[in-house]
């Protein structure tokens, strides 16, 4: 698993690739923690190149969702069909602190719309 953080329209954009499992999820947690600590209410998480995820990775996403839920959300960008299916099975998809987008632009546009309100 590889992970890095950039900015898109001022929002934190965390880009992950590879497999997020019980062995690698700690690295993702370590990347997300400072972003959460600095008070982000919306985090974009680009999963385009994530080929695998299990409860190791999902636990990390759930922690982030729980911290963001009241004021914002975690935006998962472009997970593959299997990852998406797993998000549904564990109930992430139905969580109000979690959103799915097909690409980064759609995610950024949704945020734009929110700030315009």
């Amino acid at each position: 698993m590889l992970v890095s953080t950039e900015r898109l329209d001022g929002l934190p954009l965390v880009i992950v690739s590879g497999e997020i499992d019980h062995g690698s999820s700690g690295t993702l947690q370590t990347e997300l923690d400072p972003v959460l600590d600095e008070g982000a209410t919306i985090i974009l998480l680009d999963l385009s190149d994530v080929t695998y995820i299990d409860s190791g990775g999902i636990s990390v996403l759930l922690s982030a969702v729980r911290r963001l839920r009241n004021e914002g959300w975690l935006a998962a960008v472009n997970p593959n069909a299997n990852v998406r299916r797993l998000f549904e099975i564990v109930g992430l998809k139905a969580d109000q602190g979690f959103r799915l987008f097909d690409d980064r632009e759609a995610a950024a546009a949704a945020v734009q719309k929110l700030t315009e309100q």
Partner: protein, 132 residues
């Protein structure tokens, strides 16, 4: 269960960094058995969860995990064996267990059958089956 089984086994040190390697084994076996991508993904998740539990909960033993694959004409089965007792999560662990307790339910939701059993030598075996 009908048909002859082809059986393959790997033995891996109980360390979460080895999970990726175990998934390669699952993938190879499942591809050979001509499973579709969705089923291969589900098997990788289920076997990883069982192995992650064996690594975390089998009790600090250094004994390796054994993963055996059986391919029957109507189903594929992966058995994960460790050398520790099955344990109930400790009360201390259970408070603040916010993200815990996903592994077993996920295995059961993804597989057609999950069997957890005691092995004769005091270990735990988790058998994960998917119909073809």
């Amino acid at each position: 269960m009908s048909g002859t089984s082809r059986c393959r086994t790997i033995s891996v040190a109980p360390d979460a960094v080895r999970l990726a390697e175990i998934r390669r084994f699952v993938e190879e076996t499942a591809v050979e058995a001509a499973l579709d991508e969705e089923k291969i993904f589900d098997l990788k998740v289920a076997v990883s969860e069982a192995c992650a539990n064996a690594v975390e909960h089998s009790g600090g033993e250094h004994a390796p995990l054994e993963i055996c694959a059986f391919v029957y004409s109507d189903r594929i089965v992966f058995e994960v064996s460790d050398s520790g007792d099955f344990r109930v999560p400790a009360a201390q662990l259970r408070s603040g267990r916010d993200n815990r307790g996903l592994g077993l339910p996920l295995m059961a939701a993804l597989m057609d059958e999950v069997c957890i059993s005691k092995t004769p030598r005091g270990g735990t075996k988790v058998a994960l089956s998917l119909l073809l």
